[in-house]
Amino acid sequence: MIELPLEAVLFVFLLIVGIVVGRLRNLFGAAMLTGIFSFLSAGLFTLMTAVDVAFTEAAVGAGISTVLFLATLALTDDTEKPSERSWLAIGVVTLTAIALFFGLFDMPGYGDPDAPIHGGVGKHYLEHSWAEIGLPNVVTSVLASYRGYDTFGELAVVFTAGIGVTLLLRSKSAQMGDDKAPIPFRSRAPYVREMPIVRAVAKVMLPFILLFALYVQAHGDFGPGGGFQAGVVFAAGFVLYGLVWGPRALQRVARERFLETGMAVGLLMYGGVGVAALFMGGTFLDYSAFTPEHPQHGQHWGIFLVELGVGLTVSAVMLVIYFVFTARPRSRAERNRQAGSIHPPRLTLPEVPELRASDDEGAP
């Protein structure tokens, strides 16, 4: 049993990192630590045999969310001002902890095979999904077929979040930060794209990252992976390109309009497969209707298309989010402050000119 000590060590590290993230005033440091936090939790998920979850957490935590935190910090402040100690907050947290602790008495033990979660629908999936779907990875079968409605909803949430971020941060003058007048090399620190080692390593890694993303997308039926993971890994590859060569170079490779279309096309593809099943005589997202004589083939096709839609939407949304964060001009905050008012100008109703008697004459 190597798992137990490994789990204990990782859990202790996770707790330490979590507490340090809380205590650190330097938000840049805290943002980097959240990446480590995600990495450690991905390790723990692997030990708990949740390989798909671990995969997603590693890609999201290391590839996307840390970058998003850093992009936010670049637009806001990088140090946190001290908050005064609130005994009320500590009291609330302590009470919640005590309540949760008493809830533990009813929980099944860790790894208990008789726990209620192992009966019911989970048991059905494990025993019958080979006959009903015919894919080795049960997680993919459940994700894309048995619980297809659920995943469709989740994808819609991802899409909506992408739209929301675009509406909030998209600036009309989408000027990238890196086309300022060039500063002589000797009088400043080098940009990342001027460091030969970083460039070389990134250039070597990039094709493999993208190839790997495609592999994850296509191989999700047979092993850990699928649209969500592939989408995030694919986006992370492009984000790496943007980090090294600057967002303007990335914009030339991945056009924003193209990405925004991709966001919608992925979601529509998912929904379209569902509607197609309706037209073929099945219920919504019932892929067996595609090939009634051999339901498993229909399932394979349906899952493949649906996962492709997921991958497309997820990668497009992640990249659009990255784009609008990096394209936001930093100077906007300063300009607003200099304008004096804290609030944007209030809307005042335009004054309506009073109707004169002469206007009424023309009316019937």
């Binding site: 202790v12 707790l15 507490i19 993230v21 809380g22 938000l27 939790s41 708990m48 045999t49 949740a50 798909d52 979850v53 997603t56 957490e57 998003l68 935190f69 936010t72 637009l75 806001t76 946190e80 001002k81 908050s83 609130s86 907050a89 500590i90 609330v92 919640t96 602790f101 929980m107 099944p108 033990g109 860790y110 790894g111 208990d112 095979p113 979660i117 192992h118 989970g122 494990l126 025993e127 080979w130 990875n137 997680v139 459940v142 994700l143 619980r147 659920d150 991802v158 979040a161 992408g162 971020v165 850990p224 699928g226 969500f228 995030v232 949304v317 992640m318 964060f325 936001r328 804290i342």
Partner: protein, 131 residues
């Protein structure tokens, strides 16, 4: 309930409370969101740990010699894995939305500290009332 079978729940609760405390006690909005993501990971950890079986393997079929999955193998429950996998991706998308709001607050108020934002709102209202 013994420590041997339930110890990981204690760690999960400790993590959850770390996150919760950051969300409710800190003034800095970015820190609040970091607390939220710690909270999220702890909740995911709670669900995933429930799906684990002693001696079980990941829910990807181990193929027997006849090309059919070997049903003698013990697998973890796939249900929490599916639910948490999508929750992670949705979580990062919604967190990006939160961060976008933080950026807008910074641009409007010039600060990302909760107490300063409230103070500026109060001053603005007083100035309006005096007018």
């Amino acid at each position: 309930m013994t420590l041997a079978t339930h110890w990981h729940y204690f760690v999960v609760i400790a993590l959850m409370m770390t996150g919760l405390h950051l969300v409710i006690a800190r003034n800095n909005y970015v820190k609040k969101l970091m607390g939220l993501s710690i909270f999220q990971v702890s909740v995911i950890m709670l669900y995933v740990s429930m799906g684990k079986v002693h001696g079980g393997t990941a829910p990807v079929y181990v193929m027997g010699e006849n090309g059919e999955p070997d049903l003698g193998v013990v697998y973890s429950s796939p249900v929490p894995h599916v639910l948490m996998l999508t929750a992670i991706v949705v979580g990062v998308a919604t967190m990006a939305l939160g961060l976008a709001i933080v950026v807008r607050i910074k641009e409007t108020y010039g600060t990302i500290e909760d107490d300063e934002v409230i103070e500026k709102d109060r001053q603005e209202e007083e100035a309006l009332a005096d007018r």
